[in-house]
């Protein structure tokens, strides 16, 4: 797999001119993401995960080290606009990322910035709205939408720009369960379309939807592993005060209580079949 994102020796400080350089927001980050991968980044508050996302999107520049997106360095001023075009970002607060007074104007906002001709814009806006399930709401005003709808609108605005990477910066954390499920479903389909997805989240449940999971704490990458291999060591997540998915917690407690279950499971389905096996034996 050819890498679409390459981060090497990245360090970031919010006040690079400050005398004492003790409080680095990010320290010694090495990260390579291949095209089409689905990665989640999980970590406690203040672990630097949002900062990392903003650096990848070219919104902040690294204090030290390099970030290459699609082979372009974010440190190059001229490439920066190209990078922002290729990396889409969906933010946390649904209200504060909708720019225009109507749904269709907002989807078109990024396309206007790209300088696309009107016919192309029309086709892309219609397609994006159809895809996120907001077709027929073109003239709606954003404040009449629900939280989930607003976030889907933000996704439509990003998807219409056809970026290579889409970053979700805690995009589900301000939504109700239904909105959350809708957005998660969209994230999955974006990945299935072949777009690289980086999903930053607080929720272990959502993080485990990805193929690869990265744990960040204190500005560093603490763990970087395929999700399938994470199950055996998932209890480690507690070290960083992170939640553990229900199935992992359950398995752990069963083992602890002395039930004869396998010592390691690889997925939720695996645990379910293990439990069936156990029940049919007794």
């Amino acid at each position: 797999m050819e890498p679409i994102l390459h981060v090497s020796n990245l360090r970031f400080h919010y006040q690079p001119d400050a005398l004492s350089k003790e409080r680095w927001a990010l320290k010694d980050i090495q990260l390579t993401v291949g095209a089409g991968e689905y990665v989640s980044i999980i970590g406690p508050n203040g672990s630097g995960k949002s900062t990392l996302a903003r650096i990848i999107a070219g919104l902040y520049l690294p204090t030290e080290g390099d970030v290459h997106v699609c082979g372009r360095a974010t440190s190059n001023e001229h490439e920066l606009w190209q990078i922002r075009r290729r990396v889409g970002m969906v933010f946390q607060n649904p209200d504060n990322q909708i720019v225009a007074p109507t749904v269709q104007d907002d989807v078109a906002f990024g396309l206007e910035n790209m300088g696309l001709p009107r016919d192309e814009m029309k086709a892309r806006v219609a397609q994006a709205l159809q895809w996120v399930g907001l077709a027929g709401m073109e003239e709606r005003e954003p404040h009449h939408l629900s939280g989930g709808q607003k976030q889907r609108l933000a996704i439509a605005g990003v998807v219409a720009m056809q970026p290579d990477i889409i970053l979700f910066d805690e995009s589900t954390s301000m939504l109700d369960p239904q909105g959350r499920a809708e957005v998660c479903q969209l994230i999955k389909s974006i990945h299935e379309r072949g777009t690289t997805v980086i999903h930053i989240t607080h929720s272990a449940q959502e993080a485990f939807m990805a193929e690869r999971l990265i744990v960040m704490a204190e500005g560093q990458i603490k763990l970087d592993t395929p999700v399938a291999e994470l199950y055996p060591q998932a209890m480690k997540l507690k070290e960083w005060d992170l939640d553990v998915p229900l199935e992992v917690e359950l398995h752990h407690r069963l083992v602890k209580a002395g039930w004869p279950v396998r010592a390691s499971i690889t997925s939720k389905e695996d645990l379910v079949s293990e439990l069936w096996r156990l029940l049919s034996k007794t």
Binding site: R54, A57, L59, W81, R84, R85, V87, G88, M89, F91, N93, D95, N96, Q97, I98, V99, A100, P101, T102, Q104, D105, A108, F109, G110, L111, E112, N113, M114, G115, L116, P117, R118, M121, V125, E139, E141, P142, H143, G157, V158, M161
Partner: protein
């Protein structure tokens, strides 16, 4: 509850709704100039008739229209009373020890009321038949030539459009903060006028702080979507001057000529 910002757009389909907003804007300015210039009975009769016809043509429910005009009713009554009692001239109609009412006073009062009504009705008609987005767009395009003398026209239009987007959001937030402060025991209705104004500070400060936070988030989101000012930008909304818009020209010309004749 939604705030009434600048009239309120009534989304129905009518000839006036379909007109190009640039044409409408220019026409309304020219028309308002005419209203200020008119000074005699017959001219006002004509102008009022024209506005009433336009309201009818816009297919706006009359009740909605009147509700939009209502806020200045107080102003109309006040100015007409002022004119009624202060303008002297002509025969005396009513004489009391305190004040007197002259013929000229009555005439002025009626004319002034009509003038205010026509002005307000025109502005309301514009905002009822043109969506705020169209108005913003029209202003941006009409002011385009000013970019040459370094007026940041695109930026101003973008600010207007963002303001339109966020007014309802901030309004909702104000209501929320107000309720939160009331739950903490702030009484907004009690006390002297000064006291009541001071009571609103606990609403304003949180609102201000959260607006700054929103602005920062929004700026970040705009940059992430590649916003870099007006240059190299194409537009989603296109304004096209159609044949029906040409009707505005003879209409304006006829009104000007008629007024010129009536005022002569």
């Amino acid at each position: 509850m939604t705030p009434v910002v600048i009239g309120q757009y009534v989304p129905v389909d009518s000839f006036l709704h379909r007109l190009d907003p640039r044409g409408k804007l220019v026409f309304v300015f020219a028309f308002m100039f005419l209203v200020l210039f008119a000074d005699r009975w017959p001219s006002y009769l004509l102008l009022t008739l024209f506005v009433l016809l336009a309201v009818k043509g816009a297919r706006i429910p009359l009740a909605l229209f009147l509700r939009a005009v209502k806020p200045i009713l107080f102003l109309i009554i006040l100015t007409s009373l002022l004119h009624l009692f202060t303008t002297k001239g002509g025969g005396v109609l009513l004489q009391t020890p305190l004040f007197s009412v002259h013929e000229a006073g009555v005439e002025q009062a009626v004319l002034m009321s009509l003038r205010l009504f026509v002005l307000m009705a025109t502005a309301t008609l514009l905002t009822c038949t043109t969506s705020p987005m169209e108005i913003t767009n029209a202003i941006e395009q009409l002011l385009r030539p000013l970019t040459k003398v370094r007026v940041p026209v695109h930026e101003l239009a973008m600010m207007m459009s963002i303001a339109l987007r966020f007014i309802p959001t901030l309004w909702g937030e104000t209501e929320k903060i107000k309720k939160a402060q009331m739950a903490r025991g702030v009484d907004f209705e009690a006390g002297s006028l000064f006291r009541r104004i001071m009571n609103h500070i606990p609403i304003l400060i949180p609102l201000l702080i959260s607006s700054f936070r929103r602005a920062e988030d929004l700026a970040m989101a705009m940059e992430a979507r590649g916003y870099r000012g007006g240059e190299g930008r194409t537009r989603w909304r296109e304004l096209t001057f159609a044949r029906r818009d040409l009707w505005l020209i003879p209409t304006a010309a006829t009104l000007w000529l008629a007024l010129w004749y009536l005022e002569k």
